[in-house]
């Protein structure tokens, strides 16, 4: 087994872990955290795909690597948005 495959399998397991957490945790903040675990798994699967595509003197296929990079930033923005919403909801709760 190559290390790319190994990390791909790890990504698959992380997808399972993150999805389970997103579905069964009730605290919204922990749900967001699990969304990030899940995202990490998805990116790792993509990273395995990139590593398998090594060639032409590159250690990995640069196209999926660039896509993962973009995806990480988008995922961070999504996390920030979700966190802001949870905080806003909590302060609305507070005033009631």
């Amino acid at each position: 087994m190559t290390s790319a495959t190994l990390f791909g399998l790890a990504g698959a397991a992380l997808v399972g872990i993150g999805l389970f957490g997103m579905l069964v945790r009730t605290d919204p903040l922990l749900r967001i955290l699990c969304f990030n675990l899940l995202g990490g798994g998805v990116f790792l699967v993509f990273g395995a795909v990139a590593r398998r595509g090594a060639g032409a003197g590159f250690g990995g296929d640069p196209v999926p690597q660039a896509i993962i990079l973009t995806g990480l930033v988008v995922a961070f923005a999504a996390t920030a948005l979700a966190v802001a919403l949870v905080l806003r909801l909590a302060s609305a709760e507070d005033k009631r």
Binding site: S3, L6, F7, G8, L9, A10, A12, A13, L14, G16, I17, L19, V24, R25, T26, D27, P28, L29, L30, I32, L33, C34, N36, L37, F43, L44, G47, A48, V49, R51, R52, G53, G55, A56, G57, F58, G59, G60, D61, P62, V63, A66, I67, I68, L69, T70, L72, V73, V74, F76, A77, T79, A80, L81, A84, V86, L87, A90, E93, D94
Partner: protein, 311 residues
């Protein structure tokens, strides 16, 4: 190989523990550890650019963002907990997730060999961009549209976070007030680290054209260097009504689109660079974009304006 196995085992255990943690703080502490381990995993996958982004954004900024939320929620009444799924339902969900993970694992093993790859066309066309780093080449030339749209997404996220301002807080200072810390490790780091961090960020940005690095990593570091003194209560963010603040976060995407449209007029295709001009134009875009994204990322961590801080 042993190291890889060890790394994977550590990653899975930390993720599982984070998902199951009872306390929010524990979960986030474990999540930060997860980000650090992922960084090492990216190095092992020969994706150094991604490793840098993961360290800066995945572990660093995301972790601090979640920690800040834990801190603020601790002082506020927690919303009534939703009903967790019953044991039978939980078991069903667990089986479903396990099945998905197993299917995904099987599929990873079944991916075609040799793997299809765009490494060769990237290598063949990279000289046309005058860049040495293939990932930067993809981000700034071959798939520059994605990068452009992503910078717009980050800007939009800031608008969204601001749009959540409670009644009476509009135009005020973003984020919760931070207690002033005159001494202690935080105050020390808040004074000592930023100059160092800014130099490192510039270095990462500059080498990005030819070696791993680039605007997102540099922007994340710069954002962290602004957040440190903010957390120590040493600086106050500008109010969101400030025109210059809004221009700072918008100027990056605006310049990017303007250069793209200029390419459409001169070269006949949106985001096409005239021959010989590719590298200087890309560097200009990267510099301005770094500034915009750094401020936007920091604003995303700082959060929504708070009525309590209206002054």
């Amino acid at each position: 190989m042993i190291a890889d196995l060890l790394l994977v085992a550590a990653m899975l255990i930390v993720a599982l523990a984070s998902m199951l943690a009872r306390q929010a703080f524990t979960a986030v502490a474990l999540f930060i550890a997860y980000g650090l381990l992922l960084t090492l995993a990216w190095v092992r996958l020969a994706a150094v650019d991604v490793a840098m982004t993961e360290a800066a954004i995945g572990a660093g900024l995301s972790g601090v963002l979640l920690l800040g939320a834990v801190r603020r929620l601790a002082t506020q009444a927690s919303p009534p907990p939703e009903q967790p799924p019953g044991p039978a339902m939980t078991l069903l969900i667990a089986l479903g997730c396990a099945a998905l993970a197993a299917a995904l694992g099987a599929v990873v093993l079944l991916l075609p060999n040799p793997a299809p790859s765009l490494a060769a066309p990237v290598a063949a066309n990279l000289p046309a961009t005058d860049l040495g780093n293939p990932v930067t080449g993809v981000l700034m030339s071959f798939r520059a549209l994605d990068t452009l749209l992503e910078s717009a997404v980050v800007l939009l996220a800031v608008v969204c976070v601001w749009a959540l301002t409670p009644e009476g807080g509009w135009g005020g200072v973003p984020g919760a007030a931070q207690p002033v810390q005159r001494d202690g490790p935080l105050a020390l780091l808040a004074r000592a680290l930023p100059p160092l961090g800014i130099v490192i960020a510039m270095h990462i940005l500059w080498v990005g054209a030819d070696a791993p690095g680039g605007k997102f990593q540099a922007a994340a570091i710069l954002a962290a260097m602004w957040l440190l003194p903010w957390m120590a209560g040493l600086v106050t963010p500008p109010p969101i009504a400030a025109r210059w603040l809004r221009w700072t976060i918008a100027i990056g995407p605006v310049v990017f689109i303007a250069i793209g449209l200029a390419g459409a007029v001169i070269e006949g295709a949106f985001l096409a660079y005239p021959p010989g001009w590719a590298k200087p134009l890309i560097l200009i875009i990267e510099f301005i974009l770094t500034a915009s994204i750094a401020v936007a990322l920091a604003l995303l961590v700082i959060g929504t304006p708070d009525t309590a801080q209206r002054r």
